[in-house]
């Protein structure tokens, strides 16, 4: 669906080399997550694929054609939701969908079902200016997918949302995947990436350092461990041991046999740990 080859981008004004020769493929029907801290290049990459930024080097193949050869018709086939709502504030939820929907050849017919999908049916006659941020983001989500596009782009889809609203959006993204849609999302939220993405790519300073499934990355590059809290010589101690080869670990066995154990916890590497290992940077902060 999307094939990126040796993509380079330099911002014309600042001269910043924001994307430095990245390559990746996104297959039909998968959720692909771009993971990185602010300023790493994830939104720039997304904007290049969408076409908001032009003048790139390398290849961006989307829906079988180079991006620079697409005209505005591409927006009949792709849906885009930014990390802020793009809605007419003085119009109601229904008026927004009807007006924006009328720009598409595949104008939706059943607006009530769309609004119901994100729990906004009972608010359809309310002006958007009276909506909470979560409600606006949910409406914005529906706005971006109402013309039934094949490829969907979400920029930080759950950013700034409370857990209930974030869950609704995540469920809808999974529902879109179940309908065979291809989804490209950017996030700096590792939980979102772990829960939703079939593949994730780590981007930092315009360079891709890893692409794989979240579980592979965590298994291959993360270290699972067991943490013991125990009393040794009347002193409380804490030690972590790698999970692999634990049965043959003499130090671990010694503690179990000789000391008084207070707690035993197992832990596994998070995507964030793996990200830090690859890039030396934290995702947030």
């Amino acid at each position: 669906m999307i094939h990126i080859d040796n993509l380079n981008y330099i911002y014309p004004k600042s001269g910043k080399h924001a994307i430095k020769g990245i390559d990746f493929n996104i297959e039909k029907g998968e959720i692909f997550g771009f993971l990185g801290p602010s300023g790493a290049g994830k939104t720039t990459t997304q904007r290049l694929i969408i076409g908001l930024l032009t003048g790139y080097d390398g290849q961006i193949q989307i829906l079988g054609k180079e991006r620079r050869l697409w005209q505005k018709d591409i927006f009949e086939k792709i849906g885009v939701a930014f990390d802020f709502p793009n809605l007419y504030l003085k119009l109601t939820a229904l008026e927004n969908l009807k007006l924006i929907g009328s720009y598409y050849k595949n104008c939706p017919k059943d607006f009530d079902s769309l609004l119901d999908m994100v729990g906004l049916l009972s608010d359809k006659h309310q002006r958007v200016e009276n909506f909470s941020k979560g409600m606006k983001m949910r409406l914005n989500f529906v706005r971006s997918i109402m013309h039934d596009p094949d490829v969907m782009f979400f920029d930080e889809p759950t950013s700034g949302l409370d857990p209930v609203n974030a869950r609704i959006i995540k469920e809808q993204i999974q529902y879109m995947k179940s309908k065979g849609k291809t989804i490209f999302l950017t996030t700096h939220n590792m939980t979102v990436a772990e829960q939703l993405c079939d593949h994730v790519a780590f981007i930092n300073d315009g360079v891709l350092s890893a692409i794989d499934t979240p579980s592979n990355l965590m298994v291959e590059h993360g270290n699972a461990y067991v943490k013991l809290r125990y009393v040794h010589n009347q002193q409380e101690m804490e030690t972590a041991f790698p999970l692999s080869g634990l049965g043959d670990n003499n130090a671990f066995k010694e503690i179990l046999e000789q000391d008084r154990i207070i707690t035993i916890h197992s832990g596994e590497a998070t995507l964030e740990d793996v990200f830090i290992k690859f890039t030396g940077r934290k995702l947030i902060g």
């Binding site: 908001l52 930024l53 505005k72 927006f75 849906g79 793009n86 809605l87 008026e95 007006l99 720009y103």
Partner: protein, 243 residues
């Protein structure tokens, strides 16, 4: 071999119509039409106090000022309010073309100006009016001033910034119109687009010479086409790519 290709296909025509509908609804809900109604009532009350000799001078001037000044200010308000609400980014990720976006703004403001002006003229003016000249004059005036407002709004960061920038433009465009009152025969003044517009609207009430009318219409049409193309290029570059 020649091929015929419609300039506006069915889908494009539908999109332009949808954009126009969105603009009218947006302007209505933002209270622009309310301002227009109040202003029109104010004009009608003033005109009611004047005798017909005065009216033949005052009405053309006021009806020229209406599409020009309001076009100038309204388009700035509309564009910057839309920018604040993220509508410009939204437009970019829909199939709506930038041409359609700009045209629907121009048409929506032109239509409301035409309606108000025709209504005021029909109610308040009892003398002879060439309504075909008036309609053509108002359309060309409205397009010109809306495009100037569009250009200034494109380089403005906020509504306040727009107002600061538009005042000098208004002065530059309106001052030659005042000069026309003192030097009505100075041909050079007619090259100033605002003066050409005023002459067109004025001419509808004061039996302008046919050939002068044609010249002015051609001049304003050519000017508007160039201005439209320039506005498109500037808007495409600044508003869309930099956002």
């Amino acid at each position: 071999m020649t091929s015929t290709k419609p300039i506006i296909s069915d889908a494009n025509g539908q999109r332009l119509l949808s954009a126009l509908k969105a603009d009218v609804l947006f302007q209505f809900k933002q209270g622009f039409y309310f301002v227009y109604i109040i202003l029109s009532l104010f004009y009608l009350i003033i005109f009611h106090q004047l005798d017909s000799a005065w009216l033949s001078y005052v009405i053309p001037v006021v009806l020229f000022m209406d599409p020009s000044v309001l076009g100038l200010f309204f388009i700035g308000g509309i564009l910057l309010l839309e920018k604040e609400q993220g509508i410009l980014s939204l437009i970019y990720v829909t199939p709506l073309r930038i041409w359609e976006y700009i045209l629907s703004k121009i048409i929506s403001l032109c239509l409301i100006s035409l309606m108000v002006i025709l209504l005021i003229s029909l109610i308040a003016y009892k003398g002879a009016v060439n309504y075909i000249y008036l309609i053509i004059g108002v359309i060309l005036t409205s397009i010109f001033f809306t495009l100037i407002g569009f250009l200034v709004a494109t380089s403005s960061k906020s509504v306040n910034d727009f107002f600061v920038k538009i005042i000098p433009w208004m002065m530059v465009l309106m001052l030659p119109c005042v000069l026309l009152g003192f030097y009505p025969n100075l041909l050079l003044l007619g090259l100033v687009p605002s003066v050409a517009s005023l002459k067109l609207v004025w001419g509808a009430y004061h039996a302008i010479n046919f050939w002068e009318f044609i010249m002015l219409v051609l001049y304003m049409t050519v000017l508007n086409i160039f201005l439209l193309k320039y506005t498109y290029a500037v808007f495409q570059k600044k508003m869309v790519l930099e956002n």
